[in-house]
């Protein structure tokens, strides 16, 4: 297990290098630079600014500088938020996105997995049809529509919950629900299909004929096997939810990574774009590694060494 984790960490380095290189090239190929928006700047000032951030050097040299700094854990500086480093900005935005992302993930799993399991167990009943219609509706509704309806009902008409900013747990409720809606629906569909497949296996019949109760059969024999595909999608899902759903942070004016990413792209804030992308890459690698380990706990037949 330990060797496996170590090997994965080593493998992560080339992957991150590739991600950094592609993003580096992409943001520089995009027309427009970080100081274009300030129309009033004279060419001399722009030239000075570029010199200050070493943006006047050849791209290869900039790339070398960037990698050298990156190796020391320095993500660079923001051109727009003057005197703030990218480490500083992301250090503030990341915890916000983590809280929101985990809250959303928790709701999605707590709703999606039981709903899908119950629908599969009660296959063909009205409950199944209702649950499946609800979850198909759930993956069909854009995030901003969920957000708009929640804000209207709970924020404006009932006045139960605040609809913007990020100050207490009450501010977290509506954004987390908005974030969770579509993943919950997707997990319900996935769980149902997976449980249906497992229910037809021989060992389930064996368990039943041994006289095990329905609950025991489902928890000990069905779910343990059926959850493998669910766990697979939880990896990327966690990373995406944590990096911040752009829409949710936009709707609720939450200062998370998604918002910073959008403004960074519009402003061509090169280092901030790259920092956000790299954090996403790291998260993706970590969550996938966790998923692989959970796999083995769920199903000891899966051996990763081979």
């Amino acid at each position: 297990m330990f060797g496996q984790i170590l090997r994965r960490m080593l493998l992560a380095i080339p992957v991150l290098w590739i991600v950094a290189t592609i993003t580096f090239l992409m943001v520089r190929v995009v027309p427009g630079g970080p100081f274009d928006a300030d129309k009033h700047l004279s060419p001399e000032i722009v030239a000075n600014l570029k010199a200050k951030y070493k943006l006047d050097r050849p791209v290869v040299e900039q790339y070398g500088h960037y990698l050298a700094r990156l190796a020391r854990g320095d993500l660079g500086v923001s051109y727009k938020y003057v005197n703030r480093t990218v480490n500083d900005i992301l250090g503030e935005a990341f915890p916000v996105s983590v809280q929101l992302g985990f809250a959303g993930l928790l709701i999605a799993v707590a709703v999606g997995v039981p709903l899908g399991t119950m629908a599969a167990v009660k296959r063909g009943t009205a409950f199944d049809a209702g649950a499946m219609f609800l979850s198909t509706a759930g993956i069909s509704v854009p995030g901003f529509v969920v957000g708009a309806v929640l804000i209207l009902v709970f924020g404006i008409w009932l006045k139960w919950l605040p609809v913007a900013l990020f100050e207490s747990w009450r501010h977290l409720v509506l954004p987390a629900l908005t974030l969770a809606a579509s993943p919950a629906a997707y997990l319900a569909r996935l769980t149902r299909a997976s449980v249906l497949e497992v229910l037809e296996k021989d060992w389930v019949r064996t368990a039943r004929s041994k006289g095990l109760s329905d609950e025991r059969t489902i928890f000990r024999h069905v779910l343990r096997n059926a959850l493998v595909p669910v766990v697979t999608v939880l990896g990327p899902l966690t990373a995406i939810l944590i990096t911040g759903s752009f829409v949710v942070e936009y709707i609720y004016a939450i200062p998370g990574m998604g918002r910073f990413f959008i403004t960074a792209v519009t402003n061509r804030d090169y280092d901030l774009i790259m920092g956000t992308t790299l954090i996403f890459g790291v998260l993706l690698i970590i969550t996938n590694a966790i998923v692989d380990i959970v796999y083995q706990l769920l199903d000891p037949r899966i051996k990763l060494e081979s």
Binding site: T136, P142, V145, Y186, S245, V265
Partner: protein, 286 residues
């Protein structure tokens, strides 16, 4: 085709969805052909500003007194064509790429599939935003961005189908008969892989419609004078508190269209391809 329709009729939700899709598509088509569906044009202002739904204005009016129903119908052209064109692009790129990978096999396959893995692991919205900025806003930019993130699922699917079909005897027979590689791919492999491809494409359309509306909503997709359901919802967002009808009606059309395509896709999968459940990329972050 007829046999397919007959089998689909046995699944009520899928059939109903099919009818709804036909209705919405014909609305969009009629609007594009200039058939007068409402007494108002999409850009004709009036003194009757920000009124709620009434007999005169079915969905009310916006801040310039423009009839929202006329605007929603006009916007359907853009939203529907973006969905269909993206599916077309995904089909062309995905099938070509997947065919090459699956047919060649070996090192070419490994290399091409690593490429797909990397492209797949990048979050769609991130790529679309970056590419949208690169190509420029507007219809072409958004189509380019959507096409770029939509083809990987089809490519994987086609490749998997090809790897499986390659082992079949009829392919061996075709090879023995001396048929060229292109003939084998086009005449023998592709037709046998069409079922799952059609299913995947049915799911590409709603996914593209959702992505476009989301991008337009956060201000990184289409913007005025372009008009889609996404831009209408984005306009309505600003007056959510006082005039919720402005966001709710366009949103309802997005929802019902995407829902219908998803239900149709589920139905088609049951009919055409019962094995490959949930091979479509999850709709996260949209």
């Amino acid at each position: 085709m007829l046999a397919l329709a007959r089998r689909l009729r046995r699944i009520p939700t899928a059939f109903a969805s099919f009818i709804i899709i036909l209705l919405i598509c014909s609305l969009a088509l009629m609007s594009a052909l200039g058939v007068p569906l409402t007494p108002y044009s999409f850009d004709q202002g009036s003194a009757d500003i920000l009124s709620g739904p009434s007999a005169q204005h079915l969905m009310g009016t916006d801040e310039l007194g423009r009839d929202l129903f006329a605007r929603v119908i006009f916007g359907s052209r853009m939203s529907i064509s973006i969905g269909l064109v993206t599916a077309m692009v995904a089909f062309l790129i995905g099938t070509a790429y997947g065919s090459l990978s699956g047919f060649m096999g070996g090192k070419v396959d490994t290399l091409l599939m690593r490429g797909v893995d990397i492209a797949y692991s990048l979050p769609d919205l991130l790529v679309m935003i970056l590419v949208g900025v690169l190509v420029g806003k507007g219809t072409f930019g958004i189509l380019f961005a959507l096409g770029l993130v939509s083809w990987m699922g089809t490519a994987r699917l086609v490749r998997a189908q090809f790897l499986q079909l390659k082992q079949e005897e009829f392919i061996e027979a075709a090879r023995a008969a001396g048929e060229s590689a292109i003939t084998i791919v086009l005449k023998h492999l592709l037709p046998n892989a069409m079922g799952p491809i059609i299913v995947a494409l049915t799911f590409t359309v709603p996914s593209a419609i959702l992505s476009e509306s989301t991008l337009s909503f956060i201000g990184l997709g289409l913007s005025a004078p372009e008009c889609s359901w996404g831009t209408l919802a984005s306009d309505g967002w600003r007056s959510l508190r006082v005039h919720p009808h402005l966001i709710l009606f366009p949103s309802f059309f997005i929802f019902i269209t995407v829902l219908s395509f998803n239900c149709l896709g589920d139905g088609l999968r049951d009919v055409l391809d019962p094995r490959t459940r949930f091979k479509v990329k999850p709709p996260f972050g949209k």
